[in-house]
């Protein structure tokens, strides 16, 4: 199962890696190249985590908090889905680094606005990102010097609306529900909790969840990075 899951990724990755090393500068997320490489070229990928990707056109439950929240009107609703950019690293033993198999694949609702000066930027009052759990889970985060990287841990874990919730120091709250990882970016813990209680799905979502009600529990693998797309 493991080999089958990562084989398409391996094939893509090998080509991209060759293209990067041959072409040097200039390329970014859309390189292509020759294919064909063994599974051993995926550095840490043979350990169990899943690195498959969901097709950009394939839907998943997208969460929001309605047309406004605490006085902040819905600013934008945007879908992001980029191409992967695989990269070998020393930490992966010279093979493709599994952390380079990730990409942006999420749905974003931004509420309210902020005033950025020229040449600057600012964090909006509230943003809700919904990611396929097979592409983003709490098991994916790590930081630290090469060879000493450690998992980025939440500073608090608890349950909200019946599902696991993780509060991170950067004023974000993550929920695992069904096959989705919901990331709420705010400015205070109280605001984040209020937003979590107001979460709801779009009418066309694979499952329906209204504000205040219990959310579906996470499917197997949604929290530990082993869920197959």
């Amino acid at each position: 199962v493991r080999t089958r899951t990562i084989l398409p990724v391996i094939t893509l990755v090998a080509g991209v890696t060759l293209a990067i090393q041959v072409s040097g500068a200039g390329g970014h997320d859309d390189q292509t190249g020759p294919t064909g490489v063994s599974g051993t070229d995926i550095g840490r990928a043979a350990q169990g985590p899943d690195y498959s990707l969901k097709p950009c056109g394939e839907g998943f439950a997208q969460f929001h908090v309605g047309s406004s929240f605490q006085g902040h009107v819905l600013n934008t609703h945007t879908r992001f889905c980029t191409k992967p950019d695989p990269e070998p690293s020393l930490a992966a033993g010279g093979g493709i680094d599994p952390d380079s198999l990730g990409r942006s694949n999420f749905d974003s609702y931004v509420y309210g606005t902020c005033e950025a000066e020229p040449d600057q930027a600012c964090a909006p009052p509230l943003e809700i990102q919904s990611w396929p759990a097979c592409e983003r889970s709490a098991a994916d985060y790590n930081a630290g010097p090469p060879g000493q990287a450690k998992r980025i841990e939440p500073i608090d874990t608890f349950r909200v609306r019946g599902v696991p919730a993780r509060f991170y120091e950067d004023m974000s709250l993550e929920l695992s529900t069904n096959a989705v990882t919901v990331v709420i970016w705010g400015h205070s813990r109280d605001q984040l909790l209020a937003a979590a209680k107001a979460l709801r799905t779009e009418p066309a979502a694979p499952f329906q969840a209204g504000p205040g009600h219990h959310l579906p529990p996470p499917v197997a693998g949604a929290e530990d990075g082993t869920l197959n797309c």
Partner: protein
């Protein structure tokens, strides 16, 4: 916690701050050491476990320090002034003198790079800060490419730009580190330099100005200094979108961070 119960609490020759000092009498030291013999290995183990944690604590799990700031206020959990996501960590054993010895080295080596389209150079840009440990320090150096006309499909001039901040908390040490916030600047008439949500702008599948610039710096670095300079790829989860002065531009980072080696 009862301090005296700690295996290292009053170990002979090891005061509370951990430095050894001479013991006054040999016979007293011998008998004391015997009584402490069981605690020695435990204490050593605790000290060994504590060392790497201290060495890498400057960024581990501290998500609000994964962004630059537009004011000199960087306390943990405060995110009202965050600007650009950290996208690259440069690291290496060699550095110049001074508290910016490593970021200066990175700056110098960035400015040596060339690719068919760009010439990296020393540039000036707005001042920003970065937090590490309990410090909030200015981005010491900046490098960028020359502005190019109507580049990558934009109507305006555009360039690559990176600010550099040496992590004082990690240095001096076996590895110096410099955090970098690579981004793609589009020079707008109304708002100055702005980071677009997509490069090129016409493709919704195209990466953001943060991801695009991070990839470009990485590609140039590996092409110029060798493909073996990619130390690690990590996911720092700093994917929060920001709002530019051009309000409809709300770019994000994919959360990826490259560790690029700076040694020869």
């Amino acid at each position: 916690v009862n301090a005296s119960a700690h295996p290292c609490a009053s170990l002979p020759g090891v005061p509370r701050h951990g430095r050894r000092h001479p013991s006054p009498a040999t016979d007293h030291r011998t008998s004391t050491l015997r009584s402490w013999s069981w605690r020695l290995p435990v204490c050593m183990l605790i000290l060994l476990l504590a060392l790497p944690a201290t060495a890498s604590a400057e960024h581990d799990g501290v998500g609000s320090q994964h962004y630059s700031r537009d004011t000199q206020r960087c306390e943990s959990g405060y995110i009202d002034n965050i600007v650009d996501p950290v996208g690259i960590m440069f690291y290496g054993a060699a550095a110049g003198l001074g508290s910016d010895g490593h970021s200066r080295r990175v700056d110098f080596r960035l400015e040596l790079m060339e690719d068919p389209d760009h010439n990296w150079q020393d540039i000036d840009g707005g001042t920003q800060w970065l937090g590490s440990g309990d410090q909030c320090t200015v981005m010491e150096h900046q490098a960028g490419t020359n502005f190019k006309n109507e580049f990558d499909g934009f109507d305006e001039d555009a360039r690559y730009h990176v600010r550099l901040n040496q992590n004082r908390f990690a240095a001096p040490g076996p590895q110096f580190r410099t955090a970098a916030t690579p981004h793609y600047d589009v020079k707008t008439a109304r708002c100055g330099d702005q980071v677009p949500p997509h490069v090129p702008p016409t493709s919704e599948e195209a990466p953001s100005g943060y991801d695009y610039a991070r990839g470009h710096v990485k590609n140039d670095w590996l092409a110029f200094y060798g493909s073996d300079k990619m130390g690690d790829v990590q996911n720092w989860r700093n994917t929060r979108r920001n709002i530019q002065c051009l309000e409809h531009w709300q770019p994000h980072s994919s959360g990826r961070v490259y560790w690029l080696n700076t040694d020869d």
